[in-house]
Symmetry: C2
Subunit: 385 residues, 2 copies
DNA sequence: CTGTTAGCGCATTCAG
DNA sequence: CTGAATGCGCTAACAG
């Protein structure tokens, strides 16, 4: 673990500077010299010392990707799309300029998020991509926003993917030391401002509920995610907006028909049971996402209810398994992979920032077999006890 | 992005060395001084420069976790277990000594694996954890083994989790420059040798097939993973061993009853269809893992076959969704989380290496509702056209 | 307990 | 096109 640039230089009979130049590739070097250097590198099995190079160049090739749950395909798809973007920059292997995209699992906790941001800032990461909804917390949210702006100001590219744009600095609590740089032309999307790829959760949820209403459903249960998540709030808002627009009276029951839980299968299962207890007359149940919807299906089936004959079920995200669940799941399609690719390109500065720094991607209704008109009587056949 | 140790030192009225010492915490510093330094750090919003510190200390706090597919819960569970181990080392936040566990998605490709290993070596990672089966490739495998040994020799802790131990150096092709250090006491498990947590895939698969045989099945289809993966090979071997031990004649049909595919749902789906075409008389179908098994179920159902009445199905791994699939999936339980935790501890040097450097964890048969005795007639009721 | 002194390995000037 | 010199920010001996 000791072969350095100098060793290579000695072996190739050139100076360290020259070796550095051929390795960086961003400077003219004579063909013969280059070959000799490369050969020496091979023979000595030399591997650049990242920290040293980062220190000297004042920049590292680390790109952090923060996800809530690494075991959730929603994040897996986005993260691998971001990573794939790192390697498609011309060469394949670990060439010069090759970024190392690393994913960090925050467990959806703002503290963890802050911890990872600090760790990444410490590494002087070239970019940071935050994926998934933000947690709204009176104390943490401003802290995270502050740290993100600081990272951006320090040259780290910050990209938000699937979470709402950062609120305008506004009235900073106290730490407003510097006189908030005179807002430069925001339309241009400064490279040192956090960039955002937002999902149209509100619109998607709204279209999904409209679909159910059009089918004839009037008593629609909703197993939502954690209350403090922006994703949860947006989807719920879209749902209620659709309800309201169809008929204001439908909102009266909304709270009773909503239960909150995590974005996982078991909360779908538990939530559906709770809903059935509160309102046995539901004819449809929406899940916070596809995974939750699967849990809902499991619970309903165990209660002897058929899908969609007795109860319609729908999810959100359109993860791969949703298409071939039984029955195929009605859901809202989010272009996860595409969004991840774009986030990666933005993080690398390979794509022009969207106007205003924010791009919103569409969430498209994908109607499949798990939703159908409610039973004539409105009461399920083999209902629970 | 310019506040340095010196700035903090100046502000606190001490020397840079002292600041470094309070920040590292591994050296006695007077209480008053410490407080003043910490206050200066706060006020200046100082964040350590990782690269500089790594360079000076000749060690970084990066820990790489390589996975085949980040969107697959199998890897997600292991990876998050490893990560959780990084933070549980006393403090929570980004304190000194806090390691940054980052996961890298190789897509199961040896080239990618090699690329990430180089990138990690470049960063002088403190440890590297490789998860999941290895790909057996005449050219890449030795290359990877070589690089892993080199990493280990260079002080990076290398841990293999869910893949077989590295083969003994043996007859290195050509790059055997150094005279292979005289094998030190292997029983002690040198810190600079790759450590392994292997899964008993062979034994698990064998017990699973024995379960099916005990139930009365004789024509068992097998939708295996990619042929060149060690995991695939081991599970298949276990399966065939069970077949052979029950009655050598059963092996005659083994090839016809085996199809290969990826470790995903669609290959389970396609594989089941192919199997039905080749051998409509199958009474049971095994999947390479739980995800594949789910695909198998989907295909069988579409063909009008009931599970387990017409055909029994079983998976491997016991991922969370398997327990509440419908019907609940018979599978082989692998202690993924536990293995990840252990890998993390080994990577951090917090746990003594297992004797010989290799620990094998048990794979336990978990019989549930998706397997049952075959139909009396042996021929399914509503078989495909 | 604390300050001083040297590098860590590399990327850049700046001269040739 | 190439070499010599300088410093990135920090840690690790050494002295006090």
């Amino acid at each position: 673990m000791a072969v350095t640039l100098a060793d290579v230089a000695a072996r190739a009979g050139v100076s360290a500077a020259t070796v550095s130049r051929v390795l960086s590739g961003n400077y003219p070097v004579a063909g013969g010299t280059r070959t000799r250097v490369l050969r020496a590198v091979e023979e000595l099995e030399y591997v650049v010392n990242g920290p040293a190079s980062a220190l000297a160049a004042a920049s590292s090739d680390l790109v952090g990707v923060l996800v809530h749950d690494i075991a959730d395909p929603f994040f897996g798809i986005i993260a691998s799309a971001v990573q794939s973007e790192m390697e498609s920059g011309g060469e394949r292997g670990p060439g010069p300029g090759r970024k190392l995209a690393v994913v960090c699992n925050t467990g959806g906790s703002p503290e963890q998020e802050l911890t990872y941001l600090t760790l990444l800032q410490r590494q002087r990461a070239a970019a940071v991509v935050l994926t998934g909804g933000a947690v709204e917390h009176p104390e943490h949210s401003p802290a995270i926003a502050l740290r993100l702006r600081r990272l951006a100001a320090g040259g780290t590219r910050v990209v938000l993917c699937g979470r709402p744009p950062l609120p305008e600095p506004g009235t900073a609590p106290e730490t407003a030391a510097r006189p908030a740089a005179p807002a430069r032309n925001r339309a241009g999307g400064d490279a040192d401002e956090p960039l955002t790829i937002a999902f149209d959760n509100r619109g998607g949820a709204r279209r999904l509920t409209e679909h159910l209403l059009a089918l004839g459903h009037r008593t629609i249960g909703y197993v939502a995610g954690p209350a403090e998540r922006t994703t949860t709030r947006d989807r719920l808002e879209g749902h209620r907006r659709a309800l309201h627009e169809h008929s204001p009276g439908l909102l009266a029951d909304a709270d009773r028909l909503t239960v909150h839980g995590a974005y996982d299968r078991s909360s779908g299962y538990d939530g559906a049971l709770e809903l059935l207890r509160r309102a046995p007359e539901v004819t449809a149940v929406l899940g916070a996402n596809d995974t939750v919807a699967l849990g809902i299906c499991a619970a309903l089936r165990e209660q002897g209810l058929r899908i969609p004959e007795d109860v319609s079920v729908a999810g959100f995200d359109d993860l791969p398994f949703s298409a071939d669940a039984a029955p195929a799941m009605t859901t809202v399609r989010l272009p996860l992979h595409q969004a991840g690719v774009r986030a990666g390109r933005l993080a690398l500065g390979r794509e022009a920032p969207p106007p205003g720094g924010v791009a919103t991607v569409r969430a498209e209704l994908t109607a499949r077999a798990s939703t159908a008109p409610p039973r004539a009587g409105g009461t399920p056949a083999g209902g629970p006890g």
